[in-house]
């Protein structure tokens, strides 16, 4: 037979082009996104390394001294180190506080993002997979949730549950899972009707296998995009809640709490107390958003040639 059907000629591949490689090379086509990714990486590294690269543990009250309060950038603390970014009203070294705050903000954003993504994905897949009445009910709930602004939902929840990192994560999860559910369900519906799913059915593969091995991987792209954007959202939302006084506790400040604390100093000329944490928040959120934007462009099949 092979004499009648000549194998298709092929250009010998120097390296196998995996979807990941292809994706990476497309991603790095944009210079600004590359810079944003590097910046984000740097921010994450700084946050992770915070305990080792800061002069002060701002959560240890023994290391914080009100006598150091409100010092401008470059002042020397009682303990002897220099506060390059100044200190806040309670005597926290802002450089240390920002890095520790980043840890909290990022972990709040990422944790809520991951949990919401997991829950939303499971629910969205279930809806798309089950169809019929189950899908209907699930999607009604999702609609409901979406018709309520996330800020309001989170605000109510935190007000009810009280302060704390765990509570705020829970509130953000409740406020956000529906976005993921809708996204997954939307793409899963599209994927479900694609012929490769029918082919899998035809081949007698189990439904679970079809959903998890075939449909799910194809839903990940939009999920990741929504995930990055929502993570950035979560970080700003946490800041906003803290500003409204229902966010995280004063003594273990996230970036949002730092900004909110510094807010009252805005008119007094002590700009550094909220401007530096504000810049840190801005850089973080902007870089996440830029990365998310590029992900969207790269992962969105509609923009592909």
């Amino acid at each position: 037979m092979s004499d009648t059907i000549a194998p298709e000629t092929s250009t010998p591949a120097t390296k196998v082009e995996t979807p990941f490689r292809r994706f990476a090379s497309e991603f790095f086509e944009s210079r600004i996104a590359t810079v944003a990714l590097c910046l984000l990486g740097l921010i994450i590294v700084l946050a992770v390394l915070a305990p080792w690269i800061t002069p002060q543990n701002p959560y240890d009250l023994a290391q914080v001294d009100v006598m150091d309060g409100r010092l401008p950038p470059g002042s020397e603390a009682f303990a002897g180190y220099t506060m390059w970014l100044g200190s806040d009203g309670s005597g926290r070294d802002l450089y240390s506080a920002i890095l520790y705050g980043l840890r909290i903000s990022l972990s709040v954003g990422v944790a809520s993002g991951i949990i919401a993504l997991t829950i939303g994905m499971a629910i969205g897949l279930l809806a798309a997979y089950a169809g019929g009445r189950t899908e209907n009910i699930i999607m009604r709930v999702v609609d409901l949730q979406l018709s309520f602004p996330a800020a309001l939902v989170a605000l109510m929840l935190v007000a009810i549950m009280g302060k704390g990192v765990d509570k705020i994560i829970l509130a953000l999860v409740v406020a956000q899972w529906a976005y993921y559910a809708r996204t997954v369900r939307g793409t899963a519906l599209v994927e479900r009707n694609k012929e490769y799913v029918e082919a899998a059915q035809c081949l007698g593969l189990s439904r679970l296998r079809v959903v998890f091995r075939h449909i799910l991987p194809n839903c990940l792209a939009p999920l990741i995009v929504v995930g990055t954007v929502q993570t950035a959202h979560a970080i700003s939302l946490e800041a906003t809640l803290s500003f409204l006084g229902v966010g995280l506790p004063q003594t273990e400040p996230s970036l949002g709490v730092l900004i909110a604390n510094g807010f009252e100093y805005m008119l007094s000329g002590r700009y550094w107390i909220s401007v530096f944490p504000g810049l840190a928040l801005l850089l973080t959120v902007v870089s996440i958003n830029l990365v998310g934007d590029q992900l969207r462009d790269v992962l969105n099949p509609r923009l592909k040639k």
């Binding site: 309520f148 800020a151 950035a232 906003t240 949002g256 807010f263 909220s274 801005l282």
Partner: protein, 325 residues
Amino acid sequence: MTVFIIRRLMQALLVVFLMSVIVFFGVNVIGDPVHMLVSPDADQADIEATIRRLGLDRPIWEQYLLFVSGAAQGNLGNSFIFGEPALKLILHHMPATLELAFSALFLAVAVGVPLGLYAGLYPDSLLSKGIMAGSILGFSLPTFWVGLMLIMLFAVELGWLPSTGRGDTGHILGIETSLATRDGLSHVLLPAMNLALLKISLAIRLTRAGVREAMGQDYVKYARAKGLSTRRIVFVHVLKNIMIPVVTVMGLEFGSLIGFSVVTESIFAWPGMGKLLIDAILQLDRPVVVAYLMIIVLFFVLINLIVDILYSILDPRVRLRDQGA
């Protein structure tokens, strides 16, 4: 269409019910309003009298049943703090919030759509890149921070606009609004701008994405092949298509404008529902919180309905009864 309205109404009922349960019991968990309310001089007997007066001595489920039976007659209870019917309080504060939200929405569309249109038509120009960078900033800057900056700049430094408050009101179509007077308008501008910032970014991105997609569509090429001018193509063929997502998304975002007005209202001392809500939450004024959420739910249902109808008007392909939602 009928089905559609029925569906929405059923949805509303369900949400209102669920919301009332969650909030009613939730607020109860937060804390005890009595200790916030009584004057510090009050002795134990006074405190107990207050508890009885507010009906808080009954079991919570009984309070809920009382609330439900009251609600069925349009009485959502009296505010603990203000002593007036919660519903009345909210309705009283609603126009201020609505005018703020509408102004913000208007700004978002009036500023965002043209910018997005430009950025979509000339994606490679420097200005477009600037617009897109600005829109990222708009997404990322915390509202409260921007709010104070606006006050600092426009009210304190430049002295062009008033810093806080609502200003004089006038009447448009019998509704009292500050949009009717010059003074009122000058007051509304800063907070509206603050509130609109995020939505402007959203409008820019939606519009740009829409334009970019539409410009690649066959129907645009076909319109060019018919010899139409670029103006007509952009302003009739493209704009009409991108208005579909813009109007629907912006319509739905109206809800979040109202939700987010909490922040703006507290910074600009804007006498709206958002401020009322946050105060009510902070002071455990349960009837107001519950009533606020009821009203908001109804509002959202209404907005959704309007958006859906608008959608079906803008997009002839959509007929309401076909829709799943």
